[in-house]
Amino acid sequence: MKKIYLDYAATTPVKANVLEKMMPFFTDKFANPSSIHSFGEEAVFALDDSRKAVAQFLNSHQREVVFTASATEANNMAVLGASNNGHIITSSFEHEAVLGPCKTHTDVTYLPVYKEGVVKVEDVLKEIKENTTLISIMYVNSEIGTIQPIKEIGEALEEVNKNRKNKILFHTDAVQAANYLSCDVNNLKVDLLTLSGHKIYGPKGVGVLYVREGSKISQILYGAHQERGHRPGTENIPAIVGMGEAIRSIDVNDSKKTKTMRDKVIDGITSSISGAALNGSRENRIANNINITFTGVEGESMLIALNEEGIAVSTGSACASNSLSPSHVLLSLGLSHRAAHGSLRITLGSMTTEKEIDELLTKLPPIVERLREISGR
């Protein structure tokens, strides 16, 4: 049985050209870029080349690109480094890597995201206080794929900041956006932006924090001088090389093709299965995300049944989480625990084919039907 992977929001495989570019940096070109001999120089060139690739993608200066050990680390650096003991505005459905550090602060406003899963610009503006130091809103939600109005917030904030002595910094976690949306930081008007290697067909354990020139963020890690002190520790050169190559390999044409398949899945499932409803806005939605709640079935059981057919997906059901609590993202949409219980997330990627989609659309309806017979609901 040929297995079908439809969980690209969890992680992506490393593209062949990316791996190829990384390989020499494990062995022949193994040096520490802090060494000033010729070996070290080679590593410096590689580091610079990757930084250039990221800067080009972000339309930023190279010195504004900080390589980190993950997007989680980058988000922590942004929140803890920029909050400056002031007031933080974020949304209720951020990734744990933003919500976690926010929880270490007391003065935080968690914005509602409504049924559509989209933050309102006016809500952001309404919550700004005298002591607000940071606004952190994700670009695309990882579970329901909804796109947030980052550019609109950035523009509005620019106006607000004109009349403020203590400027508010604007951070966005763009981890789930990078494959399909422009991450031009000057267009978005963000001061801080997070990327992750393993969501863009690069390696795991590498991320980026873009830090706009002049933004005051305090260090959260202390050590040597690497990454201008923002992220001390010997650079993970193979992974950073992979990150650079992965960013160069992002193909904007993927978006259209993926979106067509996404729509086929959404329409296919909601028309062939009763009691199936899409979670989050359909219009403001990233090209590769489908998140659907089915009445009368539990998500983990659907996941396991699909897995028996060789199809890999994910769910926001409490039953699939170690904590046995439903996804905070689905609850933030106002869904009941019961509705979150019956959710399935299907995320497409660059290797997804029409044939795989058809297979899913054939295999899913009988599974839901069988499980509904078992639940009697």
């Binding site: 539990e298 059981s301 396991i304 049944a305 028996e308 039953c319 219980h341 078992i374 009697g376 609901r377």
Partner: protein, 122 residues
């Protein structure tokens, strides 16, 4: 390396034998799991103090479905007094093993059975 679910658990989940509402049941135990949101009904038919048939309806994870099926199979033919003595451990053994986070699903099935017996004795 063990897979998340045992072969036996997956087999049970994919092909349960005892699901479905029992129209002529003598008692039903209705239980739910506050934590993860599962709902379960265990039906029993009793003759002369002996459980002669059992079935279930479960809205829950694969483990909840598999353990519901196991509980039904294990109590059919048992005296109700013996049936309530059944333990989680025996049920889990029947499935080879269960992930740690899924043992509460077996407890739920067991509580369903006990609730059914309690209702029968009322």
């Amino acid at each position: 390396m063990k897979s998340y679910y045992s072969k036996e658990a997956v087999q049970r989940f994919m092909h349960p034998k005892f699901f479905g509402e029992m129209k002529d049941a003598d008692a039903v135990g209705v239980v739910g799991n506050e934590r993860c949101g599962d709902e379960m009904e265990i039906y029993i038919k009793v003759d002369n103090g002996k459980i002669i048939n059992a079935s279930f309806r479960t809205l829950g994870c694969a483990a909840a479905i598999a353990t519901s099926d196991v509980v039904c199979e294990m109590v059919i033919g048992k005296n109700i007094k013996d049936a309530v003595e059944l333990t989680e451990k025996e049920m889990v053994e029947k499935l080879e093993y269960l992930p740690n986070t899924k043992v509460h699903c077996a407890s739920l099935a067991l509580n369903g059975l006990r609730a059914a017996v309690e209702n029968y004795e009322k």
